[in-house]
Symmetry: C2
């Protein structure tokens, strides 16, 4: 019998995309669906960056250097320098999205059966990269009551085994929006030094911090060899389709190993690199405007959520996600019901069930993730729908 692989069977389905058929069905009935379920911003990709692609004069669209065009890496050195992250072009490997950067980090640093600790709830795709590389994810639970702050270091200590090789964080966090502060980062530093671990830090949302500065893993001192920074232009410049990320480290053994993986896939996308390079020359106020817009949306959605009876939503410091606790029996059922059985003025809202972000079975059952990627008018209409929905949902349950 021809069979697919066990790895293929273990590979998780996207928890965010599994509701898509229900959303399509709702739309075909004429219902307007507000998409708060995915991190696809409606913000325009900066015109100046798009123009660089439009005005390209390439005769042959060649492979680039496997680490990315040197001209782009030079610009990235400038960009990171302004964030007080001091690296050179040889310490940056341009990747096909952050996805590839995380996969490269797993592949280069961890072997099958090695363990990586990740605070949960976490970005669902991490589990996929772990299955691809045979690596085992060990969750350490963060809680809505503390706004999803870093779990106490004792919880990490408990989770560490002889197979533990790395900790992976996302800061500011997807899906919680939580922004780890300097104290939390320093406590992680003590932990990785004590146990000789890598710290993989996914900083995709680093430009979107609303109530404090971003403290990068690369700001930690004297742990250069432990740190791998994962980055992407997808959210920063609303350029998800460019598929351009980066893996940055000062650890030369990791760099030379990652380069072997990078060479095997030849090069990152050419046009996306042109866009990324041009984006670095955007005027300083680009992020101010974008951040102001996202902050307004966050304030709007958090306020609206907490005004609904039985709903609790912490006020997170970054990214463009919140997790809210709802007075419901089961977030998977509720999110499907919103699309299948509910509408208000021919409108409804699509949310991501909390369960998809937890590795520990049974957690997130009363939680949903909302991405504030729509303008405030639409967010308000989506919240009107949610408010009405929670009023009539048959599985309502105050815990």
């Amino acid at each position: 019998m021809l069979s697919i692989s066990n790895r293929g069977k273990q590979m998780p389905s996207s928890p965010i995309r599994k509701l898509v058929p229900f959303s399509d069905a709702a739309k075909s009935k004429g219902t307007k669906v507000y998409h708060l379920n995915i991190g696809q911003p409606d913000i325009a990709t900066p015109v100046q960056a798009m123009e660089a692609v439009r005005k390209n004069t390439l005769r042959v669209l060649e492979y680039s250097h496997s680490a990315g065009n040197e001209s782009y890496r030079k610009k990235l050195v400038q960009y990171y320098g302004k964030q007080n992250i001091h690296v050179n072009t040889d310490q940056i490997v341009v990747t096909t999205g952050a996805s590839e950067a995380i996969l490269f980090a797993f592949m280069a640093c961890l072997d099958p059966t090695d363990e990586v600790i990740i605070p949960e709830p976490f970005y669902a795709c991490y589990e996929g990269y772990a299955v691809e590389s045979g690596v085992k994810v060990i969750p350490v639970t963060s809680h809505i009551d503390t706004g999803f702050a870093l779990p106490p270091i004792e919880a990490f200590e408990k989770a560490i085994t002889p197979n533990t090789k790395a900790i992976l964080i996302c800061n500011p966090n997807n899906p919680t929006g939580y922004l780890y502060g300097k104290e939390e980062m320093e406590s992680l530093k003590r932990l990785i030094v004590k146990h000789n671990l890598y710290l993989f830090s996914d900083e995709a949302y680093s430009e979107f911090c609303y109530d404090g500065d971003h403290y990068s893993a690369m700001h930690l001192t004297n742990v250069d060899d432990n740190i791998v920074l994962i980055d992407t232009i997808s959210k920063r410049y609303s350029a998800c389709g460019a598929r351009i990320g980066a893996l940055i480290t000062k650890n030369t053994a990791i760099l030379s190993t990652v380069m072997k993986f990078a060479q095997a896939r030849l090069s990152p996308p050419g046009f996306g690199q042109i866009l990324g390079e041009a984006a670095i020359d955007l005027p300083e106020n680009y992020f101010e405007e974008t951040k102001a817009e996202y902050k307004l949306r966050r304030d709007t959605i958090v306020k609206r959520l907490n005004a609904i009876p039985g709903v609790y939503c912490p006020n997170p410091g970054g990214a463009f996600y919140v997790i809210a606790k709802l007075p419901i029996d089961d977030s998977d059922k509720f999110c499907q019901w919103l699309l299948e059985d509910f509408s208000f003025n021919d409108q409804t809202v699509m949310l991501a069930p909390g369960t998809g972000f937890y590795s520990s079975f049974g957690l997130g059952i009363k939680e949903v993730r909302l991405a504030y990627v729509l303008n405030t008018a639409d967010i308000n209409k989506a919240m009107d729908c949610l408010e009405k929905a929670l009023d009539t949902y048959p599985g309502k349950m105050y815990s």
Copy 2:
């Protein structure tokens, strides 16, 4: 001790790129280097396809569907239909280059310790994808005396073990240029049916066949579930930097599994898909002209090589590579010597050592791969260099 993974240590370095420092040194001495070492064509990317990217009116560069834009997959259905390959949009997953398509095929169909048989010499990166997925490559040797024809089926039979799950071919072949004919494909079909194996067929060069028609693995009948077609626009439209490939199969279990891997990495590059979609509307004579140019180059390089005393080069039917046997002691030494110690009228030639394309140790030691990606004037000058070089190389050796 922080250590890199065993997988990372096992990952092969690119045999093609390891000579780059010597080439850089030669150039800095003022020597002109003819690059016959890599498959980066000098053919212009079709203007019509580039214009589609330049004229894009996107406001937000969004994620595409994880399987690729539906509009692009519809065009691909038309394209493959003209090749007598009849598939629908759900049977095509657009990938980030053929590299990703092969990795997805390995990951979805094979588990660590499963074996894939590949006729050698083979494209060096295959070994890398095997290390990434933990899969074991079992080579079956093809020989220069038969022009690198498919090895006899008995050789495959001998290599098959209970762990064998798939055969991977490249047709027409990189690095040999050999074009498998209908008879060879039908004998492979009998083999995969008898032993219940997958056939992964990398057809990156299918448009470049000079002495016969291309016989795709998808032309084989009644083995739909066994076949996975790997494709790319990199060479077809001289668009290596677009990073757009495809995985095509009628096996629904593979498709749904591959889609999980595709969703984890979100989407293939956006601009590259625009380019690929526009390229399908190129006039019919596009490939005629390109093929005529490559055929002229092949004829030139094969004639020049065979005119050098002690050199033998078969006349391959497709792709844009030849493997030649040279009267030398060691192809790695010779290729380095060409860059380090030789020049003729301040010019030299860069070749890929044959050893990098064999998995069996010791094979390819007298062979080099030449990519005829330069125009005939440059090819002739490169051959002038090679002729002179073989005249003076201290490690000359007639076998």
